[in-house]
Symmetry: C2
Subunit: 234 residues, 2 copies
DNA sequence: CAAAAAATATGATTTTTGTCAGCTCTGGTT
DNA sequence: AACCAGAGCTGACAAAAATCATATTTTTTG
């Protein structure tokens, strides 16, 4: 199918959300001519750890998890990426195989952009390079904070933090439930614990009245209490 | 005291080890005219979390720890930085306060470089910007791997890994002991555990014959065994 | 709709980790 | 040599987390 007007990079609103906003009209046009839009079903993989990427993926719709299998055989989710995020950027910049796997948590729509476009713009467009640099700086800070949390906080603290994060970043549905419905297993993989302990800890939070649930769906009932838990006060 | 020949950036060997190798002669000359060499004694702080930096610190000699205090009141060491590393780069790029504290683990010599030099070169020298970008990409990968390890490995596994890291990156002295003599407390802060458990775990490794020690100094006796421990095989 | 599969949940137990108290060793100072 | 401070170490106990087993509920699918 030929590209519609609305699916051309020049007209894409998504690019306002990432480093691509620093690209010039011409760069965008060229990019748009060779880009390729892909639909990815919930549960499908976008790429796997150790793959060699020939380009990056710009997320237009849906949410994905970026995870890595530890030597112990358990998965750790390092990041949740949504609309506007560019997946695979680090690997392309470093000319390395991917360090993480990307998997769709919902049905997704992503644009694949061949890496030569990225490389060219990194060489010729300082605005773009600086935008990417700032973005990487932000990611690095996020990662450092993540390290400190994983190392120093209890599962209960981390879980409270994740719930607040999910609310802040993905919002809630019409009924007030967290929009992103992570399985307990995925939630455990974010928190870095076993599924059972994740469930038990959620149960305790329910009993305390800080959250409620309907099936896998979770509602935050007491934001402040969760913040206090995350800080280790409760 | 006036700058000697050998302390001018143009002639400094250290810059071959970091992004500064991408700087042009002129940039280096200007940088050298406004840089300032500082001696920092073991235990002293280079900067503290939350400070506003007016420049970056290029490490010429000595080793420092980059750490952050968690809300629980315990310190987590996120990185050990040595000769060639540039401290404060992320904060300057992001125009933010520092996210980490930097403290000397040995007597150090660092060059303070006012941030306008960095900012100018980021705007005008694409080679430099790309070098910094690649460096940040490497740091980000390191951080992601660190997250996975902290989240999924036991203290014993992480400690084995740290010992091997210390050997690989800082080498050993004439007697075969690890060159960098971390206190047990600092070692615990890298591993993300309490000092007591760190000591107990070291003791166990001694009994197993995988390491030996003399005072605070540690010698690796069985590299392969430690590797296996790190991988969770033993 | 019913069966099967997957996800959620709970109990019992073991292992790992944290905490508190106190002891010992070492290196430096007077 | 005596003293001291700080680091290293150990024991006893408490708390947190992992593991295994086994329901129960929800979702998927034939």
């Amino acid at each position: 199918m030929a590209d519609q007007e609305h699916s051309r990079c020049e007209n894409c609103i998504i690019r306002q959300m990432n480093s691509f906003k620093a690209l010039k009209k011409e760069e965008l046009k060229r990019m748009s001519d060779s880009k390729e839009t892909r639909s990815i079903k919930k549960g499908e993989s976008i790429f796997r750890e150790g793959e060699h990427l020939s380009g990056v993926f710009c997320v237009r719709e849906g949410i994905s998890k970026l995870s890595k299998m530890s030597e112990n055989g358990r998965d750790q989710i390092v990041k949740l990426a949504t609309k506007g995020e560019v997946l695979g950027q680090r690997s392309v910049i470093a000319s390395e195989r991917t360090n993480l796997s990307a998997t769709a948590l919902e049905d997704m729509e992503v644009c694949f952009i061949p890496k030569n476009h990225i490389e060219d713009s990194l060489h010729n467009n300082p605005h773009f390079t600086n935008a990417v640099l700032k973005h990487m700086a932000a990611e690095l800070k996020f990662a450092d904070d993540f390290i400190v949390n994983m190392a120093q906080k209890t599962v209960r603290q981390r879980l409270a933090e994740v719930l607040l994060y999910l609310e802040q970043h993905f919002g809630e549905d019409a009924d007030g439930y967290l929009y992103l419905q992570l399985t307990r297993s995925d939630m455990a993989d974010v928190v870095g614990t076993a599924t059972e302990l994740c469930i038990r800890t959620l149960t305790k939070m329910k009993k305390e009245g800080n959250i409620s649930s309907a099936g896998k769906r979770i509602k935050i009932e007491n934001r402040n209490a969760l913040s206090r838990i995350a800080e280790g006060i409760d």
